[in-house]
């Protein structure tokens, strides 16, 4: 008896989810057409697109996709507001704010420290240890990096010293979190204070009121010879810092390590099911220690970029909350390196935008300074999709 094959035509109807996503895209386009290079000067097209976006969002909600549908509506509302702002600004202002090549270059500069720290967060949390202390480890790297570069004469040594400093602070966090089974969020907060105190103390102690000297060796920019002077790409990518490229390169490297090597598998196992890993013979404690120390070193490199790579000096509390933004980027990126990279780029873009707006309108620019933090809030609220952290994240492992 043969079983007749019945060819079933694939469904041709579009799912509510797809409609919702289309709504979000339409809403984004509603705003994008009013800024350079398209620069539509009337509100009509934006409003029309926004109406379609809201309709798509409503349809999506009716079809059951509440989150995506409401996102489409919210983005549409913001897009109309943004379009109104663009249309009411002078063309010259718009052009100076939205110089895309400069925006991209600035985005890369702002994102670099975040990328290193976020990758550090991914490593730590993949092994099951929450690392709220990323901010403190970044700060340690920021100060000790420039201290090392000053003392030992070159930026390479500066980075090495930064990594050691970050690693040492991470060691403290690891000891408290793993051995003493502390509450990891509280101990991370303590780490941040400790770092603030240590870096400020030694900054004052070693350099006094004048601060760090002026001509310390800095991480060089990479001048890409072929495209450096070629239009958009030249201005955007032709002169990025070496650490930016290292940071970006680390993303596929870490992805490969975590998901394609045995060591990475062990790390993730320890973060997901430590008891199973322990039964198989893995040392949960040892793997977590290495993960936390590595995360400290990575975060420290991110902080070192700020001082040794970009500004060339250190001032008190220089990281100013970047560690927390990196943490949010990690969450936004669903605890994956590539996701974290895109999130860092987005937050870097927010920073870059606020800079440009400040240069044309200082008063408004102050409000725009809050933009990265607002974006982070949106991200953490899960408005852009949320996934779960590693199963054993934050739970101290008790050997039985």
């Amino acid at each position: 008896m043969s079983v007749g094959t019945i060819a079933v035509a694939p469904s041709r109807t579009v799912s509510p989810k797809q409609i919702g996503i289309a709504g979000i895209v339409l809403a984004a386009v509603a705003w994008v057409i009013t800024i350079p290079p398209i620069e539509v000067r009337g509100m009509a097209p934006s409003v029309v697109l926004a109406v379609f976006a809201v309709a798509a969002g409503a349809w999506s909600i009716a079809g059951g996709e509440r989150k995506i549908g409401s996102e489409a509506i919210i983005v549409a509302l913001f897009a109309v507001a943004g379009a109104a702002a663009s249309v009411n600004s002078a063309t010259a202002t718009l052009e100076s704010v939205f110089t895309w090549s400069a925006l991209v270059a600035a985005t890369l500069r702002y994102a670099t420290p975040l990328v290193f720290a976020a990758l550090g967060g991914v490593v730590s949390e993949s092994s099951g240890v929450i690392n709220i202390g990323l901010e403190g480890m970044m700060l340690m790297g920021c100060f000790w990096g420039i201290y090392g570069a000053d003392l030992l004469g070159s930026w390479v040594w500066g980075l090495v010293v930064a990594m050691i400093a970050g690693g040492l602070l991470a060691l403290v966090h690891a000891f408290f979190s793993i051995n003493l089974r502390a509450n990891q969020i509280v101990s991370g907060t303590g780490i941040n204070f400790l770092a603030l105190g240590i870096t400020g103390y030694f900054l004052e102690y070693h350099y006094g009121p004048n601060g760090t000297p002026l001509n310390i060796s800095q991480v060089p920019n990479v001048h890409l010879p072929l495209i450096q002077h070629v239009g958009f790409f030249g201005a955007a990518f032709g002169d990025a810092n070496l650490m930016t490229w290292i940071g970006i390169a680390l993303v596929p490297a870490l992805t490969f390590y975590l998901f394609r090597t045995r060591a990475g598998l062990r790390l993730r196992a320890v973060g997901e099911k430590p008891r199973a890993a322990d039964t198989v013979g893995l040392s949960v404690v040892r793997i977590r220690y290495w993960a936390v120390i590595a995360s400290g070193m990575l975060a420290a490199l991110g902080g070192a970029y700020l001082s040794v790579g970009f500004v060339g000096s250190f001032s008190n509390n220089m990281t100013n909350g970047r560690g927390f933004i990196a943490l949010a980027a990690m969450i936004f990126g669903k605890w994956r390196p590539w996701g974290a990279l895109w999130a860092c780029l987005l937050f870097g873009f927010g920073n870059a935008m606020s800079d440009r707006v400040s240069s044309v309108n200082p008063t408004l620019g102050t409000l725009f300074e809050a933009l990265p933090y607002v974006l982070t809030l949106v991200a953490v609220a899960g408005l852009v999709g949320r996934s779960r952290p590693p199963a054993a994240d934050g739970i101290p492992y008790v050997r039985e």
Binding site: L180, V186, G200, Y201, Y373, A381
Partner: protein
């Protein structure tokens, strides 16, 4: 609770992993059993460690701590201190208590959240928002009767702080957003909103001060009366009584109201609380609202008591929210502990400020020393270790002592130590 029940509860706690290390559980374990001893030991250890760092950088920790202590004004309490020394100590003590006033409230803002199982790192932002509203209300409505004006300002600031904290609470209840990150982000957003308001050309900028980014000044009718010291020299105002009264309110709230009960239950185990019929999300929101209100009142007391106006610089350098975290943790999230810890930190801040001319060490260095000590206190509080060691040692001793002399005490009660 009998000794045996205590023992059994302790065993159960330790094997529960995350539940045993939630802030509510951590501090409860120590709260019931050890009262004041562990916080003191924690602080002492942190001070010793700080002293080691001072030593490592070539200064004498003993003279440093001595000069800090003399700067706190606590030496006013010693009857043998007299004359001009006593007068200086008096002014210093006024400063200490002025510092402690908002610290109590911001500490309570953090403590209440901890008891409900949440990390309110947003005290800074709630304080900032409360301050913006307080200075606006205090500098407007000239001619309002004094008591009404002050009340209005305090309530408005409380409402603003509550709303700010409520954002994080609502996000947590509806989307599950981690309140650690959301409150930290709200801190930064509040700071930038504040800078925007009072910068040159900002909406709340004082039009008479065209080159200074500052708010309008609080009108004389809205200033809190000073009862000790001179009003011109920043004497102690009645805000401290308001602060202490609210600490009592906190204690009553936690122990004797339904909200306090629900908050504590949710803090220990949200799932069990939900099973018992408590609306966990609504509890979170209510708790955050109250926390924000406390922080807002703290700002109002500062503004109406001695600040009288807000500079954008004040907003950007203030760290009070973070001191509040250390205060709450050191005070084990209780009313009395928070007050004591707030006085300690208030004293530390006064003693390490640049007003203290007797400081044997550069004041800037000492300010960072304070951060390090804070950090160590928080680290030590994050673990059970000290408590476990103490309590296990204490319990074994008590068990051994309670046994009749004829019986041999059984070895190793309470597992590994």
């Amino acid at each position: 609770m009998s000794l045996l029940e205590e023992e059994l509860h302790a065993e159960a706690d330790e094997s529960q992993g995350a539940a045993a290390t939630s802030p509510a559980a951590l501090t409860a374990f120590r709260r019931g059993a050890s009262g004041v001893v562990v916080p003191i030991i924690t602080a002492v250890i942190a001070f010793i460690a700080g002293g080691l760092i001072v030593l490592a950088t070539g200064h004498n920790p003993l003279t440093t701590y001595q000069s800090i202590f003399n700067g706190t004004g606590l030496n006013w309490l010693f009857p043998w201190v007299s004359g001009s020394e006593r007068a200086t100590a008096a002014t210093n003590l006024q400063q200490t208590l002025l510092n402690a006033t908002p610290l109590v409230l911001v500490g309570l803002a953090v403590a209440f959240a901890f008891r409900a199982g949440m990390f309110n790192i947003g005290g800074q932002g709630q304080y900032t928002v409360g301050g913006i509203v307080a200075v606006w209300v205090g500098s407007s409505f000239n001619g309002m009767p004094s008591l009404l004006h002050i009340l209005f300002a305090i309530v408005a600031a409380a409402a603003a702080g509550a709303a700010w904290a409520g954002i994080a609470g609502v996000l947590k209840a509806t989307t599950g957003a981690n309140e650690v990150i959301s409150t930290i982000m709200l801190n930064w957003i509040a700071i930038w909103v504040g800078v925007y308001c009072f910068q040159l050309g900002g909406p709340l900028h004082n039009p008479h001060m065209s080159s200074t980014p500052v708010s309008n000044s609080v009108v004389p009718g809205a200033k809190l009366p000073v009862f000790w010291g001179s009003a011109q020299l920043q004497g102690l105002d009645v805000g401290i009584f308001i602060s202490l009264a609210l600490a009592v309110v906190f204690g009553l709230l936690i122990k004797r109201t339904r909200l306090g009960y629900e908050a504590r239950t949710v803090g220990f185990n949200p799932d069990a609380a939900s099973y018992a019929g408590i609306n966990v999300g609504r509890t979170w929101i209510r708790v955050m609202l109250i926390c924000g209100a406390f922080a807002g009142v703290a700002a109002a007391l500062d503004i109406l008591g001695w600040k009288f106006s807000l500079f954008t610089n004040d907003i950007q350098v203030s760290q009070i929210g973070f001191y509040g975290i250390a205060v709450a943790l050191l005070g084990r999230n209780t009313a009395s502990g928070t007050v004591a810890a707030a006085v300690l930190f208030g004293a530390l801040l006064t003693g390490t400020s640049d007003r203290n001319i007797n400081l044997s060490i550069d004041p800037t260095l000492v300010q960072y020393l304070t951060f390090m000590i804070e950090g160590m206190i928080i680290l030590l509080v994050s673990t059970d270790v000290i408590t476990l060691r103490l309590l296990k040692g204490g319990r074994q001793l008590r068990i051994a002592l309670k046994r009749k002399p004829a019986e041999k005490p059984t070895a190793t009660q309470g597992g590994a130590s």
